[in-house]
């Protein structure tokens, strides 16, 4: 009885949607994409319509670029059916394109055209573009230096932290000696070591590597340790009755079981090591994005600061994304057992 009434409802519901006016459907499907296009046209016009209040060389190019993006958004939306996954990707991001276009328009008008925001502190978009085109070599050098320092320190810290965590979790003797040290030193922010580190290490580069490794190592150690310590004895019992030796128990039972915790530690370590990286670059190492920021501040080059900040945030979020995808690959088995 109830089944019948259910399918009745479905049958009468189907034609209702097909009867809907075509225009309304089209607007629902493509409206946001068209809106995105309009927002970027507005941004392009805002660049070209009025005169700049200052002296910026990229205003014209920026306006043209905005029109090109507007055109891509429009054709991508109209021709979505022929573009396959690219069209779908555009469709999904269309609301963000609208927001971005609107934001850039307001920014452009508020800075370059009418200077509603005080000028040297709030540079217009074109001046940031100018940094990317004219100061590229220096910026790239800084990016390279930062990535090198961060990667070296992070890998060292993560490796040592992981090994220490496993040892503490596994061996009572190691735990006896390392645990109090960890308790005492671990919670100290790594930046507190900065003055000492720069004196005692042979180079500022090695000092910064040490600090980044320290900032990474502490959370990785603690979480690996707690992960290993919380592995259920039942797993060890099973493995032992099947003939497992201690090395097997560590490598094939304790570590894989603790891996979800280890990744939490790796994420926390990544966050705190970014902080140390920037501070170390500002204070000690005369290279990298942190130093670039410092340098730009010294020259009151605010556009350069914003440009560097944007690059920095792209790098940090890229690193986090990379770590996420590594985790997803290693912990496929968790999918479905926990909410990600």
């Amino acid at each position: 009885m109830s089944t019948y009434s259910l399918s009745d409802g479905l049958a009468s519901g189907a034609p209702r949607t097909s009867r809907a006016p075509l225009l309304a459907t089209w607007i629902r499907e493509s409206g946001v994409g068209v809106l995105a296009s309009i927002a970027w046209i507005a941004f392009g016009l805002s660049c070209l319509w009025w005169e700049d209040v200052g002296d910026w060389s990229r205003t014209h190019s920026l306006g043209i670029a905005a029109f090109i993006i507007a055109a891509i958004a429009l054709f991508g939306t109209v021709g979505a059916d022929y573009l396959g996954s690219a069209g779908q990707a555009l469709h999904k991001r269309a609301p963000w394109l609208v927001a971005l276009g609107a934001f850039l328009t307001v920014w452009e008008v508020a800075t370059a055209k009418f200077a509603w925001l005080p000028l040297p502190f709030f540079p217009p978009p074109q001046s940031i573009i100018e940094v990317y085109t004219d100061d590229l070599p220096k910026l790239l050098d800084s990016v390279f230096a930062s990535v090198k320092l961060q990667l070296g320190g992070y890998l060292i810290g993560a490796t040592i932290g992981f090994l220490t965590g496993v040892s503490i979790g596994w061996s009572r003797a190691v735990g006896y000696w390392v645990h109090p040290v960890l308790r005492f030193i671990g919670p100290l922010p790594a930046t507190a070591w900065l003055p000492i580190a720069f004196f005692t290490f042979p180079s500022s580069w090695s000092a910064s590597t040490f600090l980044i490794a320290l900032a990474t190592g502490f959370p990785v150690t603690v979480l690996t340790w707690s992960g290993v310590a919380s592995v259920s004895n039942a797993y060890y019992d099973v493995a032992r009755t099947l003939g497992a030796k201690p090395s097997f128990l560590v490598l094939k039972v304790a570590i894989p079981a603790a891996l979800p915790h280890v990744f939490v530690g790796l994420f926390m370590g990544l966050g705190s090591s970014f902080a140390v990286l920037v501070v170390a670059e500002m204070i000690g190492v005369k290279a990298g994005l942190g130093w670039y920021l410092q340098w730009a501040q010294g020259w009151a080059a605010y556009a350069n600061m914003y440009a560097a900040l944007i690059v920095m945030s792209l790098l940090c979020s890229g690193a986090i994304t990379l770590l996420f995808s590594i985790r997803d690959r290693l912990l496929v088995w968790q999918k479905g057992t926990v909410k990600w």
């Binding site: 259920s232 039942a234 797993y235 019992d237 099973v238 493995a239 032992r240 009755t241 099947l242 003939g243 497992a244 030796k245 097997f248 094939k252 039972v253 894989p256 079981a257 891996l259 912990l331 496929v332 088995w333 968790q334 479905g336 057992t337």
Partner: protein
């Protein structure tokens, strides 16, 4: 090499081992107080015998199984497998715990392969893993992860993980306890046919007198904690056994009486 493997395969019935449980006593310390759990338990199991252990909850059955497996050391008494002292776990005595305890990070196949991998012989014996999965009828789930299995399937994987090692003594701690009655009856039949084919010695803990009588040659009934052997009953009936068999029904009444339930059951 090939020749020995062949003869081994031909003379396959890796006959079960004898198990001697001699005057075992065991106790736990709980907050300084001693909790006696096993008191002078002696059971002598012939090679290839199927022995069911029955007793009230918390009397010490699982504890005894852990001692037999070699996971813990008894406070007093001796355990021997084929005349050899049991001092530590060995893959000739495999336990299927009440909880399947599959490793969630390993696929079904890798879970079953665990024993061979731990003993370092997986590379040359991969076929055995496939065979064990076939045996429990889960070949098509070889790449699934444990969380994708039903409770009964997980339990069967745990059984395959034990059987792949060709144990001489198979130790089962209420392996069917959590299953629904239908799956349970099917798995009981599978267990008997496996045991008959392979010839291993079996030690099965169960709460269920009927299950014990359908499966075992011998039923050992324990007292309340600390467990003592209260009765040791031989079940001389051919397999497959019928649940309605009046002989078994009679034994069941007797056993329930020993467990403290009156005869109206």
């Amino acid at each position: 090499m090939v020749a020995t493997a062949l003869t081994k395969a031909l003379t396959h019935p890796a006959a079960g081992a004898a198990l001697d449980i001699e005057q075992i006593s065991h106790a736990f310390d709980i907050d300084g107080a001693e909790l006696p759990v096993l008191s002078d338990v002696s059971i002598s199991v012939e090679p290839g015998e199927f022995v069911a252990l029955l007793g009230p909850s918390g009397c010490g059955k699982s504890t005894l199984l852990r001692l037999v497996a070699g996971l813990d050391k008894p406070k007093a008494g001796r355990l021997r497998e084929d005349e050899e002292r049991i001092r530590r776990p060995h893959p000739s005595r495999v336990v299927v715990f009440q909880d399947p305890t599959l490793f969630p990070w390993r696929s079904v196949w890798d879970n079953v392969a665990l024993g061979l991998e731990a003993q370092g012989i997986l590379r040359s014996q991969r076929q055995r893993v496939d065979d064990a999965l076939d045996l429990v009828g889960l070949s098509s789930f070889r790449n699934a992860y444990p969380h994708q299995l039903s409770g009964g399937m997980a339990q069967r994987v745990a059984l395959a993980r034990a059987l792949v090692n060709d144990p001489k003594i198979l130790i089962l701690d209420e392996p069917l306890g959590k299953l629904d009655s239908l799956t349970r009856i099917t798995m009981q039949a599978e267990l008997v046919s496996l045991w008959q084919r392979k010839g291993f010695t079996t030690l099965l803990v169960t709460h269920d007198a009927e299950e014990a009588l359908v499966l075992a040659n011998r039923v050992v009934v324990f007292s309340e904690r600390p467990a003592r052997v209260k009765a040791d009953i031989r079940v001389d009936r051919p397999y497959p056994r019928h649940r309605g068999d009046p002989y078994l029904a009679d034994l069941r009444r007797q056993i329930l009486g020993l467990l403290g339930l009156d005869a109206t059951w």
